[in-house]
Structures are given as structure tokens and as C-alpha cells.
């Protein structure tokens, strides 16, 4: 057991998976000699060589398209896209081929690839370096969309993503990368994809979030307990798609009230899907309208204003209280 940052935890997952399976290949821009711009792939090239840790030309579509070919031929490529804002050049390869080759070939081929990318705001970055557009991918059939929130689950989910027989988009909350350390077991650990986690149990209200927004969400939940005596149940989705709606519905059927928190834009965002699943399956349990605390439907502003774009503890508290106070 070691106290690791999320970067170190992801690095551990890559080291261990590459050690035990020589079909795992890491490719991307600056992932080799430089160890990645965030140092996530640090030390891999020294250990596994440049055939397995490929410093590629600066071409995102190629990284993704070549990885599809590798996966078809039995490798397990793990692509790094330096920032999720540059992943859209991969979109046609993901949408047209990665998710379709299994079906198109009638099961003859499948594409066990992972596309890792840091996402989200809060690190005072340049334009295109702070987006949270997981909905693009979550909307795509045949694709899994995973977003960890802490070092330990980042490691254990990446292990599962690499071993998954289908393509996985793995968004890493860069605001969490070095924000804190957590104990991560040395021995192998894999969390199942498609399963959320009840991080905190409660009976009065369910707050659903994921990724970097788990921190303000948990802080808000603690404040609700302290100052309002409210017991909030907090769910960390971990996998955005396929959505663990069973757990979400189970919780809301208990609490009757729900708030969803994400930094992605509100309209057609992941929260909209959560609301739909709740309305479809738990309509009669709901005691108040479901609230969404999200990024606004504007391009995320540069860093002087990004904190006013991003959900924060204050906004979550306000939404939670409004939901709790609602009387039909």
C-alpha cells in the first residue's frame, strides 16, 4: 500500500498491465522519452522500450486509427490524447470504426483499445485544455465512457478498461491529477466498468456526480450534514456509459430527492440522461424536481472566469437545499 497521486496511480496501472501482457502498447504524443506532458507514462519507455511505448507523430486521428488496426490484430493499445479538447480529431475513427467493427464483421474482429485523455477545468490552462465533453462519447453505441475521481479508482478502472474487450474512453480529471494522495494497494486491483459507487450513505437526498466534481460534491454533502443535519447519499458514477441506473434508481427510491453535479454543459449532458432514467423508473418515488448543477451552455471561459463556470460547493448546496425544501 502506497500513498499515490492519481498520476502515479495511473502510471502504476500501466506498468503492471504492460508487465503481465505484452499485447499492451502505449502510444501518443510525448508519451515516451518525455513520459507524457503530465508524466502519466513516466518510466514506461525505459522499461518496455520504444516498440511498446510509441512516441507518435502529432496526429490524433492516426493515433486512434492505428490503434484500431493494432487492436484488430490482437494488441491492446492504450492511446494518450494529450488533452480531451484534441480528441475530436479521433471522433470519426471512434464513431465510424472503433465501435462498429465488432458488429460490422459479425464478431470476427473487436477493438479492445483505450483512449485516455485528461479532461476538465480548474488548472488555469489555455483554451481547448479545459473541456468536459464526455457526452459526445457517451452518446455513441458500442463505446464505454469511464471517468475516475480518485487515485485508487483511477488505477483499478484503468486496469479494467485495458482488459475490456471493447473500446473504452477514459477521461482523467486533470484537476485531481496531483490534488491529493490516496492509498493504492500494490497488488492488482480491478473495479468493474458500468458500476457506480455509493461513496456516502444517506437517507434524505441523493447527490450524483463523477470525476473532478466529486470533491465539491463531497464537501457540500459534509456541509449539509454539519449545518443542516441532512444525510445525503453520494453516488460516484465512475462509468458514464453504460450508466449504472440500477444503483441510481435504488438510491433515489430511498431518498426521493436527487441532485446531479457535473462540469459538462447542461443541455443534453450526462445529467439529462440520469434525470430521464430516474423519471422513467422512479417517478412515483420522487418528492421534488430533480436539480442539475452543471457547467453553463457556453464554451468554458479562460481561467480568469472558469471558476464562475464550474459548479462549486455553494451552487451544490443551494440546489440541494432547494430540492430538500420542496413540498408538493
Amino acid at each position: 500500500m502506497a500513498e499515490l497521486t492519481m498520476i502515479q496511480a495511473i502510471n502504476l496501472a500501466l506498468h503492471q498491465e504492460m508487465e503481465q501482457d505484452n499485447s499492451v502498447i502505449v502510444l501518443g504524443e510525448d508519451v515516451g522519452v518525455d513520459g507524457g506532458v503530465f508524466r502519466v507514462t513516466d518510466g514506461l519507455i525505459e522499461k518496455f522500450g520504444k516498440e511498446r511505448v510509441m512516441d507518435t507523430p502529432l496526429a490524433e486521428s492516426a493515433i486512434c486509427g492505428v490503434a484500431i488496426g493494432m487492436a484488430v490484430k490482437g494488441l491492446r493499445p492504450v492511446c494518450e490524447i494529450q488533452f480531451s479538447g484534441f480528441s475530436y480529431m479521433c471522433m470519426h475513427q471512434v464513431e465510424n470504426h472503433a465501435v462498429r467493427l465488432r458488429g460490422r464483421s459479425g464478431g470476427r474482429f473487436h477493438v479492445p483499445m483505450v483512449l485516455r485523455a485528461p479532461y476538465g477545468g480548474g488548472v488555469r490552462a489555455l483554451e481547448h485544455h479545459s473541456e468536459s465533453k464526455e457526452a459526445y462519447y457517451a452518446h455513441t453505441p458500442g463505446l464505454k465512457m469511464v471517468i475516475p475521481s480518485r487515485p485508487r479508482n483511477a488505477r483499478a478502472l484503468l486496469v479494467s478498461a485495458i482488459r475490456d474487450p471493447d473500446p473504452v474512453i477514459f477521461y482523467e480529471p486533470k484537476a485531481v491529477y496531483r490534488a491529493f494522495r490516496e492509498e493504492v494497494p500494490d497488488e492488482e486491483e480491478a473495479f468493474p466498468l458500468g458500476k457506480s459507487e455509493v461513496v456516502q450513505e444517506g437517507k434524505d437526498l441523493t447527490i450524483i456526480s463523477y470525476g473532478a466534481m466529486m470533491r465539491p460534491t463531497l464537501e457540500a454533502a459534509a456541509k449539509l450534514q454539519e449545518s443542516d443535519g441532512v444525510e445525503a447519499e453520494v453516488i460516484d458514477l465512475l462509468t458514464i456509459s453504460p450508466l449504472d441506473d440500477e444503483a441510481v434508481n435504488q438510491s433515489v427510491q430511498k431518498t426521493g430527492r436527487a441532485v446531479i453535479v457535473h462540469e459538462a454543459h447542461r443541455s443534453f449532458g450526462p445529467g439529462a440522461e440520469v434525470v430521464a432514467r430516474l423519471v422513467e423508473k422512479s417517478f412515483l418515488y420522487l418528492q421534488a424536481p430533480i436539480a442539475r448543477v452543471t457547467g453553463f451552455d457556453v464554451t468554458i471561459p479562460l481561467f480568469q472566469r472558469e471558476n464562475d463556470y464550474l459548479p462549486n460547493v455553494h451552487r451544490i448546496l443551494r440546489a440541494a437545499r432547494k430540492t430538500l425544501e420542496f413540498v408538493a
Binding site: 507523430p57 496526429a59 486521428s61 488496426g69 470519426h92 460490422r104 464483421s105 470476427r108 450508466l243 440500477e246
Partner: protein, 369 residues
């Protein structure tokens, strides 16, 4: 501080062996087994006649939209004839003859154009990728498979087809660049058929040739008469042998012509002149190979007639088998197969939803009937 010419070692050849009159350059003529030549001729004929049959089936409404290959048989077959069975093929959407040569059935072509997903199913053991429709996107996959081949120390190669239009796509550039950097055993076969729907080759690029684009990536390129199956075979074989022995990727531009429409949803009369088609008809690859084989005494009038009969029969049987097969492919629930290895809960629910709807529909029909 001089200003001087940069020495770039590069040579770009144009290769033609068998001209449109059926005359052969004996110095360049390859030694090909009679059996292979006849097999190639038969395959060209089969695909030509099948293409014609597809057009009539489409006009009768018995299949949907399709992309005819007429005129491009030599470019395709001359290239794939150089492959080993265990090599890999990455077709775009106009490579029916290439796919068929490699073992993809004509019945599967009918299934695809007839609107059944089963048409693109790849049987175990066949290293063809399914058809890729978004232009140029498949080029990268051939680099990835080739990289994996090299990584595993295997001796196979990956051959990818694309058109003149495809060379304008970013993925073309990214793929050749990547292949050059990592020296993957990838063979890039460009069928320059002069038209990308209504856009002529001259409007895709200001470059004199498409083959010269390989120069920019530091890989060998060659332009060949794409309606000359001997030239295609020779040029591609050189590239394949080089790749197989560790010499890296190559690009071959086959100069050919799309004698038919882009797809059956298109009318070429809107954008190109009949005279152009007439000119190219004189360079028909099928006639040319026929003349060559007859001149060499490898094929007689009688044998041609009997091959015509043979492919006619094969096509008739294929269409009949397709129409029979349609009867067992009605189940709409098959759309949920192969989305993921394991169906997640929401898809199980949606499958159940459709299943219920279908049962209700059936019940309703029975009651009405």
C-alpha cells in the same frame, strides 16, 4: 550561407507493360503461371458480369444503392494477386473484385447491398476487413495491423485500397506519415479512377501525380497503368516483396477509370462528357487481358465462351442463394448482437422492448389476418 538544391534521392516511375492494343513490352513482361493468368481473367470476367447484374437488380429494386467497379478490375486483381492468404486486406467501398479474390463471397455483396448487416460478416480465417465507407479512414487501420505484424515478428503485410479522392483526406496523410516513421509493412494502393463523384482528379490536388505524394513521407511511390494487369502485378509485387523483407511501406498509384457511376444514386452525365468515357472504353482492362491471352495462345474463342457461360451460371446461383438466404434473416432482434461482447443492462432492456413490440405486432397481424 548558400542557397542550393537539397539532394533528395527519389525516383518516380510510370510503368506500362501491356498497352491498349494488347501489345506487350517483352522486356518488362512478368513470368506468370498460365493458371494464374487464366484465374485472373476469369475473376475479371466474373466481377464485370456480376457488376452488370447488380446494376439490373438495383434498377429492379431488388437491392439498394451500390458502387459499381466497372473498369477497375485490373487495378484490384493485379494488386491482390500478389498477396499470401494470411496477408491482410483493407478495402474501401469499390473493391468487390479484390475482396472476392481474397475469399469474400459474391452472395455477401448481395446481402450488403440488399440491406442486411450479415453481408459484412468476415468468416474466421479470412484476413479481410469489412468495407469502409467514410473515405480514407481505413488507411490508418492498415498501418496499425502492419505495426502489430512487425511487433510480433511476423512476415505478413497489410494492403489498403483507396481512391484519388481519398488522397485529399487527412487520414491519408497521417497514415503514410505514420507508416514512414515506423516503417510498417503496409502497401498503399491508390486507384486513381479520375472521379470522386463529380470532382475530377485535377481538382483533388495540384500535384502532377498522386504517387509523388509518397516522396513527402520518405517512402517509395510508383505510378502504373491501372488498366494493365501485368503492370499492376509487377509494381505491387515489388512493393510487397520489399515490405515482406523488412523494407517498409510503398505506395502504388493505379491510373484507371470509373467507367460507371459513383453509386447508383448518381448520374455522371451531369458532370462528365461521354467522349471521355468512350476514350477510356478503348483502354478497358478486360479486353486488354483477353487480347494478351489470345495472342499468347493461352485462351481461345471457345474457352472465352465457356467461361462466359460458367460465370453466368455462378451469378445465377449466387442470386438464387441470396434470395433464399433472405428468408432466414428477418429477425430484427439481431441488431443487438455484437454491440459489445456482453450486452449491458440498458441494451437488454431495449432488446426486450423491441421483442415485446414485435410480439404485439405479430399478434395484431394474426388477429387481423
Amino acid at each position: 550561407m548558400p542557397r542550393e538544391e537539397i539532394d533528395i534521392p527519389y525516383r518516380l516511375d510510370y510503368l506500362s507493360i501491356l498497352n491498349e492494343k494488347g501489345e506487350v513490352d517483352e522486356e518488362l513482361e512478368p513470368e506468370m503461371e498460365q493458371e494464374l493468368l487464366i484465374k485472373l481473367y476469369r475473376s475479371m470476367l466474373l466481377n464485370r458480369r456480376f457488376d452488370e447484374r447488380l446494376l439490373s437488380l438495383q434498377r429492379q429494386g431488388r437491392i439498394g444503392t451500390f458502387a459499381p467497379i466497372k473498369g477497375q478490375e485490373a487495378s484490384q486483381l493485379g494488386a491482390v494477386a500478389t498477396l499470401e492468404e494470411s496477408d491482410w486486406l483493407f478495402p474501401s467501398f469499390r473493391e468487390m473484385a479484390a475482396e472476392n479474390w481474397r475469399g469474400k463471397s459474391l452472395e455477401s455483396v448481395l446481402l450488403t447491398y440488399g440491406g442486411y448487416n450479415e453481408g459484412s460478416v468476415i468468416p474466421e480465417g479470412l484476413n479481410n476487413l469489412p468495407v469502409a465507407i467514410p473515405v480514407g479512414t481505413q488507411i490508418l487501420h492498415a498501418v496499425g495491423v502492419a505495426y502489430a505484424i512487425k511487433y510480433r515478428g511476423e512476415k505478413n503485410i497489410a494492403m489498403v485500397f483507396f481512391g484519388d479522392g481519398g488522397t485529399s483526406e487527412g487520414d491519408f496523410h497521417e497514415a503514410l506519415n505514420f507508416a514512414g516513421v515506423f516503417q510498417t509493412p503496409t502497401i498503399f494502393v491508390c486507384q486513381n479512377n479520375h472521379w470522386a463523384i463529380s470532382i475530377p482528379r485535377s481538382q483533388q490536388t495540384h500535384s502532377k501525380t498522386l504517387a509523388q505524394k509518397a516522396l513527402a513521407y520518405g517512402i517509395p511511390g510508383v505510378q502504373v497503368d491501372g488498366n494493365d494487369i501485368l503492370a499492376v502485378y509487377v509494381a505491387v509485387k515489388e512493393a510487397v516483396e520489399r515490405a515482406r523483407s523488412g523494407g517498409g511501406p510503398s505506395m502504388i498509384e493505379c491510373v484507371t477509370y470509373r467507367m460507371s457511376m459513383h453509386t447508383t444514386a448518381d448520374d455522371p452525365k451531369r458532370y462528365r462528357k461521354d467522349e471521355e468515357l468512350e476514350e477510356w472504353s478503348k483502354r478497358d482492362p478486360l479486353d486488354r487481358l483477353q487480347k494478351y491471352l489470345m495472342a499468347k495462345g493461352l485462351l481461345s474463342e471457345e474457352e472465352i465462351d465457356s467461361l462466359e457461360e460458367e460465370v453466368k451460371k455462378e451469378i445465377k446461383e449466387t442470386v438464387a442463394a441470396y434470395e433464399e438466404k433472405q428468408k432466414e434473416l428477418g429477425d430484427p432482434l439481431l441488431m443487438f448482437d455484437h454491440v459489445f461482447e456482453e450486452l449491458p443492462p440498458h441494451l437488454k432492456e431495449q432488446r426486450e422492448e423491441l421483442s415485446r413490440e414485435l410480439a404485439e405486432k405479430e399478434e395484431e397481424e394474426q388477429n387481423n389476418g
